[in-house]
Amino acid sequence: MLKASKGILALGSAIAGLFVALAAIAQDVPPDVLVKNVTLEVIDIVSKDKDIQSGNQKKIVDLVEAKVLPHFNFTAMTRLAVATNWDKSTAEQKKQLTEEFKTLLVRTYSSALTTYRDQKFDFRPLRAKPTDTDVTVQVRIAQSGREPVMLEYDMEKTPSGWKAYDVRVAGVSLVVNYRTEFANEIRTSGIDGLIKGLAAKNKGPVVVKAEKK
């Protein structure tokens, strides 16, 4: 009995050790490698999953939440988008804003993922010094007869690895776009009005692309 519990304890500490090791690995993965690994993994899952291809919203959102979400710093993103009004928000409002904005971004990302899964990705070499703690990772998507689309992730180094705090698609920054939208909403209906607006938008169905034919 005592032996068994000792065994469990040993196993427990081994698992704990493993998690520490994994956390250390996550932290050491360079940002460009991280983006590449996550992108390829997610695209691979999507290309093999018939449910996702036929437009199963819940499964797509779950996938994004499990694989993509941990690599974003949503508090930083929300703070940048809310800009000067962030300081005027209470702790509870900040929490709600971050939560609703996160949901909206996950939905948008899920919608984009089902659309652009068949593309050729070109992961650009990282142009940064090893000591940099704030970098931009670029991924180019090639398209026939059109100039390539550039996806850019602004990322910062944190104790739990590199986290993205803005995404630019073809030069359009999500944070900058939402900054105007949020400022307008707050001017007309206040911070609580913005939270309500976001929540209402998040209640609608996710627009995903189902397989052609």
Partner: protein, 254 residues
Amino acid sequence: MALSAGCATTNGDSRDPFEGFNRTMYGFNQAVDEAVVKPVSKAYKEALPELVQTGVRNFFSNLADIFIGVNNLLQGKVIDAANDGMRFALNTTIGGLGVLDWASEMGLEKHNEDFGQTFGRWGVSDGPYIVWPLLGSSTVRDSVGEVFDIRVDPVRNHEPIVARNAMYLTRVVSKRADLLDASRILEEAALDKYVFTRDSYLQRRRSLIFDGSPPREFPRAANPGPTGAAEVPGNRETVLSASAQGELQNVEGK
């Protein structure tokens, strides 16, 4: 009447002094799109094989390469201009009048240039944002650019008129079909589609003028830094809001 209704939702954005008028035009364009352009483009996309759609897209893209090259030259980018000239020569000949984009396969990259971008490169600022009926988002500078773009458009000078008009229509449908996915994502992302479309347009143009690497919209210092200020809203918070404030004033001062 409709105009005054539009004015009611004006937000006083200095980049968009005609917001009331623009919103009305945006609404008009959306209605035309929903009623005619979008359904036709959807049908086009569903009916034609992917290969044919790519051929049509490539054909018009090839015609555009001539003046993309001219604009690169006007901006002093000689190598890019040579690249565009080579693209046109190659694709027009071995690419079968541009239907096949061999140049891209051979590493001659497609560029995106127009007269509006050239003026921007020369230092002309955007000017107020304008939404034109049917043509959509623009600015004063880009509208002047578009007048030039339209004048030199190879399709415009094509005879007979019937063939020219057929080409115009095909080009519009082909372009709209390519945007069907993007417009669905816009639907998902935007709280106010007018604002989202406008800001995307302005950011996109800015990025294009600088060929994809414009000066940063907010300085790197604006982000909370490596220690994850998420958990500890201490002094970092003040640093951020100070720089965020500066940034906002920058935008408004433009």
